[in-house]
């Protein structure tokens, strides 16, 4: 297994400044998207809890549907982030980290 050999633990690669700022911006945009979703959920629960009892789909109420949506959305956004983040790595050592488990 790849993990058993202990490599160096300083970051091996240096990403270009452009990559860093692009990834950071992407992260912040996705964070804001989720913040709005989560904030909406929390405020609805706090100030209008009766709304959460409304049945929206297949006998499930808003509380359940919104809750599941938040969990699934977190995973989807994480996938989008992983997909869109650029990885321009200048150091050759990074390929060791790509081995399958």
């Amino acid at each position: 297994m790849a993990g058993f050999d202990h490599g160096p633990n300083e970051p091996d690669e240096q990403e270009s400044l452009e990559t860093i700022s692009r990834n950071t911006r992407l992260g912040l945009i996705l964070f804001l998207v989720y913040l709005v979703l989560y904030g909406g959920f929390v405020f609805l629960n706090t100030f209008s809890p009766a709304q959460m009892e409304v049945v929206v789909f297949a006998g499930l109420n808003l509380a359940i549907v919104y809750g599941f949506t938040l969990i699934i959305a977190a995973f989807l956004l994480a996938m989008i982030y992983g997909w869109m983040c650029r990885n321009e790595i200048t150091s050759p050592t990074a390929k060791n980290g790509e081995a399958k488990p």
Binding site: G3, D5, G7, G27, V42, I71, F75
Partner: protein, 651 residues
């Protein structure tokens, strides 16, 4: 409740724990350097690390606390699942990569890589210790909750066992072994929770759940009647002239709505309740009486399984299924939830009264609750405020949800895991794997919690026991496996936390702050001594906090972590004018204010000191809403006041 240990359960349990320990001893022999001990040499594969994230994060609190809270209060427990997962978004999108780019071993390293300040090292080390110890309490309480039903030992034995085993693991191994233990455990937890959920859906819902071949005790609920009248209740209870029924409305009992019945020399308590149509009901209760001499009586008899002794009845069932059916047969994912929504479920409330003679009576009473209420927020006493008009109660809820959102990215034992992979891309990929497995598990918690709620197997006195008891109601083997996984869950989380704390002591306090010169060998030795000390503190606190729902305790740990660490982390990463003084003061302010707030809150007054909740100084119990922004403000103000003269010294 008293638990009968099962031989096979103990055997399976022992085998899993032995394999875990053996693995960590074996791996421990492979890691001798300081790097190997603290950060697994930076060479863990991202997939393993991702599942290990889940292993770290899905602690006793997630598994036992959330299931227990859902089993006792419905949807409110699921709010924690949502909040805990949302926190990962902050970790992934905002903190993960910049942090990995900066640091080497600990959270303090990352904060300090810009400034080389001893003040920051000190502040970060102390906050790491404080948060770790706070987070250790619920893990240890969870350990006790697991051992009790499994082996029949009292709570403190469970805590001692976990503490000792963990100290052994940490002292012999370090980060490599905990990573693989966490990987194993994270995978097992997800797999067996899936199996448990499938079995719950297969079993379906029933108004008369059967456990160990016995149906659940059906508690009497009399009524409805038009008036709350003693004579009326006498006839409903079919009492004779010898039986004595008194209304308890004096002294400490006033306004609580209980009747005391003495029949055949036995005392019982009955709870009066009223519905919206002003009809009254009278329900049979269970109670525990602790006399001023310390003797314990359950429902009027000594607690035990012998003759003339009794124990609490297991509880938790559906009282009405849609269409007045008695059972549903196998259900699907959505039909399980929609059936519960259309049913009526018996939840349990409790009330405690201290009598003038020094004895204490704790009464547990059934509360028939509509499925609509069970599947929407506001049933837990701590969350009930969102359905009321009091603004401070609403703020309490907002405050908790904010702390859960911000807390994850500030937990030292989660942060430390960013250093166990090679590079930023791996840190990112591990986090995605982590979010996937954790999110999937959290969806299952709702089914496991509701399955427990309707299983007829719950211990009315302890919500932390819900998940293991649910498994037991399905089968002893499943109970053994789930308990063993949950137990290794505790082991893994606790060892991660202890490593984070010992790292803080050695690396930040001794080496960087006190400037003590140490070689690798000495560092590892001191780390091991620190681990033992932190372990012992955790054992003591775990015994003291037995009765708290572990989830609630974790909420506090998240508040402290978010208040102390998040402002420093975020501002360091995104605000160039941040100064070392700003960071140091912000960490101390966040930590002290959130700890202070918790200690002065109504929950601590009632739960820890045994004082009146109304006397509490702070207006609501969860500190996050005040103390997280406070950390940011203090950081900004202090940084602006301490700007260096020349522009270039910051960047």
């Amino acid at each position: 409740m008293i638990y009968e240990p099962s031989f096979m359960a103990v055997l399976i349990f022992g085998a899993i724990v032995a394999v875990t320990l053996g693995l960590s001893f074996w791996l421990g022999a492979k890691a001798k350097s300081a790097k190997g001990y603290f950060a697994a040499g930076g060479g863990i594969h991202w997939f393993v690390n991702g599942v290990a994230f889940a292993g770290d994060y899905l602690s006793a609190a997630s598994f036992l606390g959330i299931c227990g809270m859902i089993a006792f209060y419905g949807y409110d427990g699921f709010l924690y699942s949502i909040g805990y997962l949302a926190g990962w978004i902050v970790a992934l999108f905002v903190i993960a990569e910049p942090l990995k780019r900066m640091g080497r071993f600990t959270f303090a390293d990352a904060l300090d890589s810009k400034f080389q300040s001893r003040g920051i090292k000190l502040a970060a080390a102390i906050s790491t210790l404080a948060v770790s110890i706070f987070y250790l309490i619920p893990q240890m309480v969870g350990a006790g909750a697991l051992i009790t039903p499994l082996l029949g030992f009292p709570h403190y034995v469970g805590v001692l066992m976990v503490g000792t085993i963990v100290i052994l693991i940490v002292v012999t191994a370090g980060m490599v072994s905990t990573t693989y233990v966490q990987f194993l455990k994270g995978s097992l937890l997800v797999i067996f929770s899936t199996i448990l959920t499938i079995l719950i859906l297969q079993r379906g819902l029933s108004t008369e759940p059967v456990n160990d071949g016995k149906t659940t005790h059906q508690f009497q609920i009399l009524g409805p009647v038009a008036a709350n009248d003693l004579q009326q209740w006498r006839s409903e209870l079919k009492l004779t002239d010898q039986d004595k029924l008194t209304s308890l409305d004096q002294g400490p009992w006033a306004k609580k709505g209980f009747l005391q019945l003495t029949r055949d020399g036995k005392t019982s308590y009955w709870k009066i309740s009223e519905n919206q149509d002003q009809q009254y009901f009278l329900s049979e209760t269970q109670y525990k009486l602790v006399t001023s001499q310390g003797a314990v009586l359950i429902n009027g008899l000594p607690q035990g399984t012998g003759e003339g002794e009794t124990d609490f009845y297991p509880v938790g069932r559906i009282s009405k299924l849609p269409g007045n059916k008695t059972e549903t047969g196998p259900l699907g994912l959505t039909s399980f939830l929609s059936t519960i929504r259309e049913s009526e479920i018996i939840l349990w409330g409790s009330d405690s009264v201290k009598e003038d003679d020094g004895s204490t009576v704790t009464i547990y009473y059934p509360k028939p609750t509509s499925g609509e209420k069970v599947l929407s927020p506001g049933n837990h006493p701590k969350f009930a405020g969102i359905r009321g008009d009091k603004f401070s109660e609403k703020l309490n809820f907002l405050s908790l949800m904010l702390a859960l959102f911000c807390g994850t990215a500030s937990l030292p034992h989660i942060l430390i895991r960013y250093y166990t992979v090679k590079d930023q891309a791996s840190a990112r990929k591990s986090t995605i794997v982590g979010i996937g497995s954790i999110g999937y598990f959290y969806i299952l918690t709702l089914f496991m919690g509701l399955g427990a709620m309707t299983s007829g197997a719950m211990d009315v006195t302890n919500s932390n026991m819900a998940a293991p008891l649910l498994a037991k109601s399905i089968g002893d083997w499943l109970f053994a496996v789930i308990s063993a996984i949950a137990f290794t869950t505790v082991l893994g989380t606790v060892s991660g936390l202890i490593i984070a704390s010992s790292g803080a002591v050695v690396h930040d306090l001794m080496s960087s702050f006190l400037k003590i010169e140490m070689n690798d060998f000495a560092k590892v030795r001191i780390a091991k001594i620190a681990s033992v000390v932190v372990g012992v503190i955790a054992i003591i606190l775990g015994i003291l906090f037995e009765k708290f729902n572990v989830n609630y305790l974790v909420g506090w740990a998240f508040s402290v972590a978010a208040s102390a660490n998040l402002p420093a982390l975020v501002m360091l990463l995104f605000w160039p004018k941040t100064t070392k003084q700003g960071i140091t003061v912000a960490i101390f302010t966040g930590m002290i204010s959130s700890l202070g707030w918790i200690l002065l809150s109504a929950d601590s007054y009632k739960g820890i000191y045994g004082w009146k909740a109304e006397d509490a100084i702070v207006p609501f119990s969860q500190p996050g809403l005040v103390t997280i922004p406070l950390g940011f403000i203090v950081l900004i103000v202090v940084s602006l006041l301490t700007q260096p003269k020349s522009e270039d010294s910051v960047n």
